[in-house]
Subunit: 247 residues, 2 copies
DNA sequence: CGCTTACTTGAGTCTGGTCAAACGGGGTGG
DNA sequence: CCACCCCGTTTGACCAGACTCAAGTAAGCG
């Protein structure tokens, strides 16, 4: 289910090739190499960590996709955010490591693991990386703000259109796109739990978007047919994306 | 509407007296004193900054309360989070200063202003404070996670009970409480916009909580009568609160 | 005293939820 | 190779929680 794999050295990190990530200095690269304690590979559907557990690692997604979520006692689930390559996982817990949400893989995932207890070294000796960390946290917060706006104030069809547009956009930035096909294997249940809707209503509303010719739904995933229409219905608009830091 | 006031020197900062904030070293205190560019006082109902504007300051709330929010074109508003003393405002924008949400005061507020452009000095020379900044961002993200869970998955009465319990708790930590009276002057419209509900439905559901004897609603604010009942209905539970950093 | 802001209340509607059942493809064990 | 099962998806019928519209009250203020 979860196992260590032979690590990709940071200097060959495949994410660096993507244009929208900020470059590291040689020194930073060396530090990250030391900071990284290993790689973790988990299967689709498995849990990286659970709410209320203690997690002493931070992770950066190298490959694959997953999601953060919280649950109520009776099983109602809210997906908080999708995780894609370059995203940092685990910062949202208390910095000491007590997690207040769970993380599950949608596809098989590879993650770089970092030792939380060495975080202070990062802050002490690499202020550039420390700054990046805050940048990352702040970006994550903006994403959550958007989601909250959707779930709180948009109608069902707007929410669905919005999230499909947003996920498409994010996926493209990290290479999780093949043509118009978004390579994030979510089910309609995932969609529903992200948007605060029921599965049935999600299905029926999604069917409308399909009829409108905005998207095509595939088994576990989708294809954007008319990105403009999707954005218009969902009220989604691109942000100015400056190269972003990671790790 | 907004004006500079004679600044309270950081070493006399009234927030430091509150037990749940972390203490500064002498050195950090000196740095903060220099980092702080002044104080801002704004009236209840006025806007600190608006979505899409550029804001070159970071602020810490010294006194009073307000809220962050986003709006859709047609005026639907979603309140993202309430702001209380000790909270940092403005970090959620891109670090460069483009804001993606607005901030409005609910009571008159006093804020300490910091110059964003000097943030790099903070990272370079005061890794402890840099670490704090990430801590603060991560705490904020946990708050948003909770809110998203509420808005997405709780029923109207659960949402209201939850937020009232949570706000009571937060308010008490920063001295915004007099007896059982929560000194955060929100209207039912604020509540509705926080929870993704209509004003009318919020009013009717709140009336139930009043009938149950859980709270008493006051003009712009409320009083907790039965905190246990409120927490039970809303599914709210206290977190272990370690002394938290600020500024 | 009249205006505004916040809160109430009632009536009727509708978006979205629940329950129930069925379909279709992929995998598996007999 | 086929029967069966499971998971994700689809559809229909019905229900209800939450919304809109419309008034009306009450307190605060110039």
């Amino acid at each position: 289910m979860a196992r260590r794999t032979n690590a990709v050295p940071c200097e060959l990190c495949p994410l660096r090739k993507l244009s929208n990530f900020r470059a590291f200095s040689r020194e930073e690269l060396l530090f990250m190499k030391a900071f990284k304690t290993g790689e973790l590979r988990i299967d689709a559907g498995s849990t990286l960590f659970a709410e209320k557990s203690i997690n002493l690692n931070l992770y950066t997604v190298l490959e694959g996709s997953g999601f953060r979520y919280k649950m109520l006692e009776d099983g109602r689930r809210q997906i908080l955010n999708f995780l894609m390559p370059g995203d940092l996982v685990g910062l949202q817990g208390t910095l000491s490591g007590a997690m207040e949400h769970s993380v599950e893989a949608m596809s098989s995932m590879t993650l770089c693991a970092f030792d939380r207890s060495r975080l202070n070294t990062l802050y002490r000796d690499h202020s550039g990386l420390a700054y990046d960390l805050t940048w990352i946290a702040s970006r994550e917060e903006r994403l959550l703000d958007e989601n909250l706006l959707s779930v709180g104030r948009r109608t069902a069809i707007e929410r669905i259109a919005y999230i499909l547009a947003a996920v498409h956009h994010r996926a493209r930035q990290v290479g999780l796109i093949a043509g118009s096909h978004v390579n994030v294997p979510m089910t309609q249940q995932h969609l529903a739990d992200t948007l605060g809707l029921s599965l049935v209503h999600t299905n029926k509303t999604l069917a409308k978007l399909v009829r409108y010719g905005a998207v095509r739904w595939l088994d576990r995933g989708y294809e954007t047919i008319d990105a403009g229409l999707l954005a218009r219905i969902g009220g989604w608009r691109p942000h100015s994306e400056t190269p972003r830091p990671f790790l």
